[in-house]
Symmetry: C2
Subunit: 194 residues, 2 copies
Amino acid sequence: MNYCSACAAPVELRIPDGDNLPRHVCGSCNTIHYTNPKVVVGCIPEWGDTILLCRRAIEPRYGYWTLPAGFLEDYETTIEGAARETREEALADVDIAELYTLINLPQINQVYVMFRGSLRERKYGAGEESLEARLCREEDIPWDEIAFPVVEQTLKLYFRDRRRGRFGTYTGDITRPADKWRDYQVRFLNGNGD
Amino acid sequence: MNYCSACAAPVELRIPDGDNLPRHVCGSCNTIHYTNPKVVVGCIPEWGDTILLCRRAIEPRYGYWTLPAGFLEDYETTIEGAARETREEALADVDIAELYTLINLPQINQVYVMFRGSLRERKYGAGEESLEARLCREEDIPWDEIAFPVVEQTLKLYFRDRRRGRFGTYTGDITRPADKWRDYQVRFLNGNGD
């Protein structure tokens, strides 16, 4: 941020009175421009013993598999957003059933909120940001071609829970050393919710 | 938003190519300025059969009681943020234990993420944004002086769960008609998580 979005004067990075973190403050109109992490919402769309995955048609991770998910929009609920992303990326209608994982990705300033959802009918396809969408059984999950650690972790928890017949809600952090994509650390509250 | 924060040229509100919502787009450098809902993080700080409430020293709802909570900061996890807000507003150290409620407030473009937490010691006080902090038993909760519906709902669920000896995780929306503060609607996924 270089300029004030309210009045176009240059901004300076300083700690406002009564605050304890540096903010971009306008030198002319004194507007304080706060920034905050973004929420990514998505779901695990279920159909019988399969779930719906999408193969990404965009960077990052072009060609890799993911769950439908994307940035929460202004004035939208996380529940609405998860259903919208599933429509957009997998051309599928879901009923959002339960919160499943809330995972912080502090290094990229995102909070992932993933739900479980039920496909309303066996109807899906590749949205604009997807190369294809596919219903996968557990044994068909392309574990070596999953786009993001947060999706891998969510899927691992999901299939473990499905085998034991009980779904929890899991909250944790994923962090990783710079430049080591696969070498990430996961820490959940309460040992994976058990 | 009137001006581009990157180059100070005027922005226009239009739907970018390949998008489906209007965004502020710079007419000069073409930067798209996305905006998104903000996350508010906080906790229910527990000490034996009491919980710690704060009385607000700031608007809105000056003088009303609330749980420690505030905006999630850049590059912070929701777990860290909940503990930080408790330190700042109630001068208390908590261990964040579990996610408790995730409540969408679409009308004010916020997502509340509230945890249960344990006070590390019986030590607390009024932070800069609080008039006082107080450990309350259920029978001492000032129900008519709770600052926000989202706090009231979280506390109602909490004491119900405590009486039955089992804590869930609850996800839902709170909406309300304009100008009717107390007349709000609550809708949880799965009938309050039961």
